[in-house]
């Protein structure tokens, strides 16, 4: 009996010690496991999508490494410490966006980069993806909830300024993500349902009025093509037609790794960046995509648990917004590649090739870990 009791106790002891170790270094186990799974899967798909390019693979793996380090570093910072610096970071971010607007370096036909040759080259809009929700969370966590109209108005102003600057770059995808990250904080803070409903209700007649009274024919045409890219098969519609054929031809189980035909014959443009889900769909089928969606769902679920368990209001709002924004990435990207949504430049998180977005996303998860592991009474888990 006694030995048995001992054994139970000792196994509990081991559990606690392991948890303690991870918590000591401020890393959340479930999140880390899911992220590493995604990273491994991403390299697999990318190898196929890039046409077996080791070069690209090594770059992506390096970005992953850098992202994990930055996640780890951010996880060490206490949320309260971060909150203190958020207003300054917001001001710096907006100033950088203005700088990009004024004299930004022109890359890929759109101005998004700050470039000091030999020193640094980065997109201030990526930086804003984390600073934006942190700012609104910082602001609203000092007010009574649900927020008053005045505080909602101030929040919308804080969101609107960087949003407009990024739309002007023009980078519709990123600006929408930033808009979403800011408004999700408002939503998490208990923005009144009747306000949400009345804004949506007011938007409809305004849009209809604009359409009939203020827009030129060419503007209407542009919006119609945007909403229905397949009406423009020589422009953006071409990508959609090809990506639908790629996904559809994958069937339930897919054609097998490296066996996709659509993506390998240059039919599919941007197959390793925004449209990479089409390669996944073609080679691994519905099963592959569902597996990916499951991992995303678990990540989001963990994020929402962290939100619910966060002790400070600031932590709750920030974690909730980051998690929901992550979902927006997933939904908009898969929706657009499968022809459900208009084409805006949103990458598939952790799978699409691209170092900057990888580092930003992992940093956001670093924030989540920080919120979760710096709580006062761990025992409550």
């Amino acid at each position: 009996m006694k030995s048995n009791f001992d054994r139970i106790l000792s196994s509990e002891d081991v559990m606690r010690r392991r948890a303690t170790f991870l918590q000591k270094i401020h890393v959340d186990g479930p999140l880390l496991i899911l992220l590493l799974t995604l990273a491994a899967g991403s390299l697999f798909v990318l190898y196929s999508a890039s046409g077996k390019s080791w070069d690209l693979l090594i770059k992506q793996a390096t970005s992953f490494g850098i992202g994990l380090v930055s996640m780890f570093v951010i996880a060490q910072l206490e949320p309260r410490f971060m909150a203190r610096w958020v207003p300054a970071a917001y001001v710096i971010g907006v100033l950088l966006l203005v700088a990009v607007d004024v004299m930004g370096h022109n890359a890929m036909g759109a101005t998004r980069w700050i470039n000091i040759p030999g020193v640094i080259r980065f997109q201030p809009s990526e930086f804003m993806k984390i600073i934006m929700p942190a700012t609104i969370a910082w602001y609203l966590s000092k007010r009574t909830l649900p927020p008053h109209l005045k505080h909602v108005a101030v929040s919308l102003g804080l969101i609107g300024l960087p949003f407009i600057l990024i739309v002007r770059q023009p980078d519709l995808g990123t600006s929408l993500l930033i808009l979403a990250s800011g408004t999700f904080v408002l939503f998490m803070a208990g923005l009144r349902w009747r306000w949400i409903i009345s804004v949506v209700a007011a938007a409809v007649p305004v849009a209809v009025g604009m359409w009939f009274f203020f827009m030129h024919d060419y503007q209407k045409q542009r919006i119609l093509t945007f909403l229905d890219p397949e009406s423009d098969p020589l422009g953006t519609g071409w990508n959609i037609i090809q990506s639908k054929a790629a996904i559809g031809s994958g069937g339930v189980f897919g054609k097998g790794w490296l066996m996709g035909t659509q993506s390998h014959l240059d039919f599919l443009p941007e197959s390793h960046t925004d449209f990479i889900i089409a390669v996944l769909g073609e080679e691994f089928g519905l099963v592959g995509i569902c597996a990916l969606l499951l991992i995303y769902l678990l990540l989001i679920g963990r994020g929402l648990v962290i939100t619910a368990q966060a002790q400070t209001l600031y932590g709750k709002l920030l974690a909730g917004s980051l998690t929901m924004t992550f979902f927006v990435y997933v939904f908009v990207n898969i929706g657009m590649v499968s022809g459900l949504l208009p084409v805006v430049g949103v990458p598939l998180p952790f799978i699409s090739y691209g170092g900057t977005s990888l580092v930003t996303l992992l940093s956001a998860f670093g924030v989540l870990m920080s919120v979760h592991t710096h709580r006062k009474w761990i025992a409550q888990v």
Binding site: P233, L234, F267, L286
Partner: protein, 632 residues
């Protein structure tokens, strides 16, 4: 009154956020289900469809270029049409090692290394994957046969039939209709990439360029299924292109030919307008060139020959040629004098053969050194008396003169639909201060009065200024397109009509211009001999090189290319003008002697029937010819 103290209720906040987390989780699950449903639809329900498309066959979207609108003259004669032509196109993705295939093409067709360089350049202009790029145009029967025999060595190469622009009238309309050419990289950036995805040529000059959007039309497309070798198996979906709009020009090919014949090989320009509508009836700039050369790519040698020729055939003298208007501007200057009130029709000036400004000793010479004695307005126009107009310009002053001549279109773009028209130059005090950093000198006003000095105008502007006198100040911008797909072109930037305080002033100037042609001492009376209708006209001379004070223009001393340009403007019938003609003959020297007969021939060609009688539609208001010496 004390405010209630608000304490943060942490437990309530936490509950609120937690309820929102639940709402968010539900939304996430629902939307993930939407995505899975969409993928189920694509990958399970539509699996058969997508998998047949993708197994051995491939889906392609092929642009179908619209057929370009045709261009007709006012009587329906075709000026620009589309002719089928065979070209060689190559698809890089299907050619394997495409540079090697290019070598094979060069070898099979026995071409030169220069051609190969051009092919390579054209291949690099390809815009999308699997897009066939045309690299050689106008294949001959023999070339097609050679390609067919060697097809097995030429993967990804095919002979394609396409429509190519053709100008059956050759040189006649090169300066008005213009020509088409291959789209270059700079132009590609400014064009709508979707609408031009199947198009490799665009208008480069003239009507072809100005009405490019109308002539081009809207691209169509085909979604086709091809096998692995690129052969089309079936068409899945087709949207027809919208063909370009046809344009009917106001130009008349017979009048155009008559005007060219009247120039008789001399270098020069002829513009004929209908003053009541602004329609351009003839537009000649000689020498000209064959626009067909440019359509499929002119060889470098042929182009440099055209470009470097001393006769400048590529130079559009009507729109870009800048000349001092000389005495042809005098009718407009006379209108300025009458309307400002500084003269009346009976004001007289004594002409001793020169004019001197008070307190200056510079003599401004009349062309007639002996002087014309007492001169009134009618005589001044008839004799083209410089002294009278020096005095008139001095009295009007530079500011008012500049303003009036601006109203006549000098220094402005006057046309409605002509590409790269030069605005010319109407000097003013401000202009001189800005460009030369100098004050305006009174002497410069004087020479403006006889159309010399800084002033520069195109033959088109001279024609339009004359049309305004003929039409009593009513502005109609000169235009070449009569209708675009049945629609008249709209003037979006109309010029204000010239409204005079006393509209009868128009008739006074008109009468003076008639005296030029029909008066006993009229400078161009020889050109009007035997006319079936009354003509109003004015000659002019544009100096090519300046003549120093006290020196006389001596043709024997002047090189042929430095001789004066001959100018003449006129309209007829004088009482109800149906046609305005402006003529410039390079180095022609005498406006009344050389240019006036050309004007007369063009008017005859328009107003007379083949038997030499006035056409009945122009005869209603016509008066019997009058050559009697009335003044003497």
């Amino acid at each position: 009154m004390s405010q209630p103290i608000r304490l943060k209720d942490h437990e309530k906040d936490a509950r609120l956020v937690r309820s929102r987390v639940v709402v968010g989780a539900v939304a996430v699950v629902v939307l993930i289900c939407v995505l899975i449903a969409r993928l189920y639809f694509l990958q399970v329900i539509q699996y058969e469809y997508h998998s047949t498309l993708s197994e051995n066959n491939r889906v392609h979207v092929q642009p179908i270029p619209p057929s370009r609108g045709l261009i007709y003259d006012r009587n329906g004669v075709v000026i620009a049409d589309n002719r089928p032509s065979f070209s060689l196109s190559m698809t890089r993705e299907r050619s394997g090692d495409w540079t090697q295939v290019l070598d094979t093409i060069v070898q099979v067709l026995e071409l030169t290394p220069d051609d190969r360089i051009i092919f390579e350049k054209r291949m690099k202009q390809g815009r999308r994957p699997f897009e066939p790029v045309p690299i050689l145009f106008e294949l001959t029967e023999e070339q097609i046969a050679r390609i067919a025999v060697n097809q097995f060595r030429l993967p990804g190469v095919e002979v394609v039939a396409q429509l190519v622009r053709h100008y059956p009238q050759g040189e006649h309309f090169a300066h008005s209709v213009g020509y088409m050419g291959r789209i270059n990289e700079k132009e590609l950036k400014s064009l709508d990439p979707v609408n031009y995805s199947g198009t490799h040529h665009m208008g480069k000059t003239g009507i072809e360029r100005f009405y490019e959007p109308e002539l081009h039309g809207q691209v169509g497309y085909e979604e086709v299924e091809t096998n692995a070798r690129g052969r089309v198996l079936r068409v899945l979906k087709r949207t027809d292109p919208v063909p370009g709009k046809d344009i009917v020009l106001s130009l008349d090919i017979q009048l155009q030919e008559a005007a060219e014949a009247a120039l008789a090989g001399r270098r020069g320009a002829v513009v004929a307008l209908d003053p009541s509508t602004g329609e351009v009836l003839a537009m000649v700039s000689q020498p000209s060139f064959d626009p067909n050369l440019f359509v499929t790519g002119i060889s470098f040698k042929a182009y440099s020959e055209l470009r470097d020729s001393v006769d400048r055939p590529l130079f559009n003298r009507i729109l870009r040629g800048l000349y001092p208007p000389g005495s042809t501007i005098k009718p407009a200057v006379a209108i300025a004098g009458l309307d400002t009130g500084v003269i009346t029709a009976s004001t007289r000036v004594f002409d001793p053969g020169y004019y001197m400004l008070p307190n200056y000793d510079h003599k401004y010479r009349n062309w007639n050194r002996t002087g014309d004695g007492w001169v009134d307005l009618d005589t001044a126009i008839m004799r083209s008396n410089d002294t009278y107009f020096y005095d008139l310009a001095h009295k009007v002053g530079i500011d008012r003169l500049s303003a009036y001549l601006n109203k006549f279109g000098i220094g402005q773009k006057v046309s409605l639909d002509m590409f790269e028209e030069s605005p010319g130059l109407m000097p003013s005090r401000d202009w001189k201060r800005v460009t030369r950093r100098q004050a305006w000198f009174p002497g410069e006003t004087l020479i403006l009065g006889i159309g010399q000095g800084y002033m520069q105008a195109t033959p088109l502007q001279l024609a339009q200024a004359t049309a305004l006198v003929a039409n009593k100040g009513k502005w109609n911008r000169p235009h070449l397109a009569r209708t675009v797909e049945g629609q008249k072109p709209v003037d979006k930037n109309p010029m204000p009509d010239i409204v005079l305080r006393d509209p009868s002033d128009w008739a006074k100037v008109n009468h003076g211009m008639q005296q030029v042609m029909h008066g006993a001492r009229g400078t161009a009376r020889k050109a009007a001999i035997g006319a079936q209708y009354r003509i109003a006209g004015k000659s002019g001379t544009a100096q090519v090189v300046a003549i120093r004070q006290g020196e006389k223009y001596d043709r024997s001393k002047v090189q042929e290319r430095h001789r004066d340009h001959a100018l003449f403007v006129g309209f007829a019938p004088a009482d109800s003008p149906k046609i305005v003609v402006a003529v410039m003959i390079e180095n022609g020297e005498s406006g009344s002697g050389v240019a006036a007969p050309v004007v007369r021939q063009v008017m005859d060609a328009w107003l007379l029937d083949p038997q030499g009688h006035l056409k009945p539609e122009y005869a209603s208001n016509a008066q019997p010819p009058e050559n009697a010496a009335r003044e003497e």
